[in-house]
């Protein structure tokens, strides 16, 4: 079963209609809001918001399943390791100590530690869906055109969207080459020793690079022949003009950021939200 990782899916929803630049800016603004505070209330609000947005953009669960699995593995490992290395960090931050139960020796579970770790967990969970929305709803060419509009060189923008566009082709080449080399005896499974596997990877990379160079050669000729680089500027077929809705979205996100900053400096009085000291 082949799932397309990192691929834009063509739908017509409110989110899809927004300019790629808007989505990038909103992503950065909301991520900053989450990163600049350590407040579970902010995280939960943004998490709910991102779930709603995901719903609106009609991203199917099957599309993000594999990504989600990896993310969850990472988060759970992170959760456990954080506890193992610093079981008392929560009490240090919040300055109080409420023991819940003892696991073994020094490993005591405190309310503070639990709260600290859950907040951290919710931080990731609120930001990751936003990233997924950006990847799945942004047409690479349209995104390239909006980057160009804010002053990035169009050569850079075009190569960016071409890279995204060629990603599936190169993946396909990789699979073909890898299978053909395995047939000749290259061992790619975990049975092989690390050194052997490193060698096997080289056996796949050389042909992969060669075929990719062939591709680049062909596409650059095709682009030259159709006048790429003729002028200092270019126009974009996929360009979406900035609309009222784009401005509105950015304004809302700026507002959210300002509110969280207000909470940080005037309500929490610091980076951490501390419910243990009233």
């Amino acid at each position: 079963m082949k799932t397309k990782l990192f691929s834009y899916n063509q739908l017509d929803t409110f989110i899809h209609r927004l300019s790629g630049l808007t989505k990038l800016l909103c992503f950065i603004l909301l991520t900053s809001a989450v990163m600049l505070t350590y407040d579970i209330r902010v995280n939960i609000v943004i998490m709910i918001l991102s779930m709603i947005l995901m719903r609106i953009s009609r991203i199917r669960f099957s599309q993000i399943k594999i990504m989600l699995i990896y993310v969850m593995i990472f988060l759970v490992t992170n959760f456990i390791l954080t506890y193992l290395f610093a079981p008392m960090y929560g009490t240090q931050i919040y300055g109080t100590r409420h023991d819940l139960f003892v696991i073994a020796g020094n490993y005591v579970v405190t309310k503070e530690q639990l709260f600290y770790q859950i907040t951290k967990f919710s931080k990731y969970l609120s930001v990751i869906p936003l990233g997924m929305i950006f990847i799945f709803t942004t047409n690479p060419s349209e995104f390239a055109s909006s980057l160009n509009a804010v002053g990035v060189s169009y050569r850079v923008c075009t190569s960016l969207s071409l890279t995204l566009r060629y990603f599936p082709d190169v993946t396909r080449d990789y699979t073909t080459i890898s299978l053909a080399q395995q047939a000749r005896g290259l061992e790619m499974t975990s049975k092989a020793k690390f050194a052997d596997r490193a060698k096997s990877v080289a056996g796949i990379l050389v042909p992969l690079i060669l075929t990719t160079i062939d591709r680049i050669d062909l596409i650059s000729n095709a682009m030259d022949l159709r006048g790429f680089g003729k002028n200092r500027k270019r126009t974009w077929y996929a360009r979406r003009p900035f609309k009222g809705s784009d401005n509105a979205c950015i304004a809302i996100c700026i507002l959210i950021l300002l509110v969280t900053l207000y909470i940080r400096f005037f309500i929490n009085g610091g980076y951490f939200y501390n419910p243990f000291v009233q």
Binding site: K2, I177, A183, P207, N221, L225, G227, K230
Partner: protein, 565 residues
Amino acid sequence: MTETVISFKHFGFQYYSQAEPTLHDINLEIHKGEKILIAGPSGSGKSTLGHCMNGLIPFAYRGTMTGTLTVNGLETKSASLFELSQKIGTVLQDSDGQFIGLSVAEDIAFALENDCVPQDEMKVRVKKMAELVDIATHLGNNPHELSGGQKQRVSLAGVMVDDVDILLFDEPLANLDPKTGEVAIELIDEICKLEKTVIIIEHRLEDVLHCPIDRLVLLSDGRIIADDTPDNVLAMNTLVPHGIREPLYVSACRFAGVPITSEIRPASLETLDLSACHDKLQAWYQANAKKESETKKQPLLEASDICFSYDGVRQVLDHVDMTVYEGEMMALVGKNGAGKSTLAKVITGFLKPDAGTVTMNGEDLSRYTISERAEFVGIVLQNPNQMISKAMIYDEIALGLRIRKVPEDEVQKRVEKVMEICGLRPFKSWPISALSYGQKKRVTIASILVLNPKILILDEPTAGQDYRHYSEIMKFLETLNENGQTIILITHDMHLMLEYTERAVVLCDSVKLADQKAYEVLCDNDLSSRANLKETSLFTLAKKAAIEDPLGFVECFIRCEREMR
């Protein structure tokens, strides 16, 4: 006299990287509205000639030019690539590799984008162009999702949108199956009627001649050998000596002793004057017809009741059976997406079938790993660059054995033997980068053969090869086959099927449609069109000449051809 749009005068070109000039003393005039075919074997300089016209030479490929070349009165030496690209539009071979946009509309618009055309105007022009080439209903699609013929339309639209007057097609048929190729040639013919000048660079003569052309320019070793109407060039009998295959029906007429003159109009079966050759064809057939005796062969590999699906929804293989007999050379044919490659991958173990078994000499192969299975069935990919990972030929061939920890003295013995068989002995200590495409192909075949597989599968072994290289590769495979190697060829090439394979398995829409003699497939119009092939012109000729058993005529031709090789 019509206006001259392209004019070469004593033109020559030499790449900086080469010791010898590629083009010598070219004198050629192309007039407005003409449709010209430039034919020549690989290395004859025909692609170089094309690159000179569209400006890739000297802008992308450096070298020294002598003489003059003007395009619409503009000397190419002093023009820029962009000026030229507005006069000559180039459709490169392999439309897959040249799509820039993510959607059809965007791809068509690329030239306009670079020209800074405002978006509103761009949308109007793209739509108009898409309607012209009949692709307007697919504007939102990803070009890669389209069929081969539709892809051609998109690349054509992308070039024509710039309002060019001259269109250059660089090997437009190279990766197309016969049926799609026919459609592409018809499309080019329609374009030509819009008062465009059309230049086609191609070596598949019979396919291009499907629609009339004005002039045929034959190039060999960088010189123009012939420049005349197709009728006259065919009558000159210079094609075959220069490595270009003439249409099969013309060869058949020659076999029968019909003198090929321009008066009998040999450029197309439709214009061919049959009254001149009817009697001789009949007589030749009567003299040569005989039935070949059938020899019964032992089944070697049996794939039975194979089902496979990539996504669990669409069946790519739907209860397919296939038997491969010991020592045969067979063809696996069918249009793109019919499941040919998937079947090959199931046989080699790259993919696990959802149902069904693959057995060899009665032994189930499913318990072997991919690499163990390679000792039963070896596969050679279409693009040799996808297989080569070592710098030296010897190391590349030895790779499979060395990984299997075969002792070095035995490795040497086996590699040398395979090199001998593959004619690579003289290149023993050469780096692979110094080899030609055909030689690289041999290296990849050798690197698989060294593992002694019982069956060798080749995916499009001759794709993009001219007649000379094609014959070279096929002769080599034939020798292997005569030495007892069982070979399966996955192919679109009708000549190859017809002349080299005994049997063809036709896959269509995930089921097996036929399993019969290769020439029978190509004489069955319905069957061959479902497999995206065409009825062979030999069969059409035989019917036209009222030969009572046209199938027998085709068989007879193939036999005579084989004897002459």
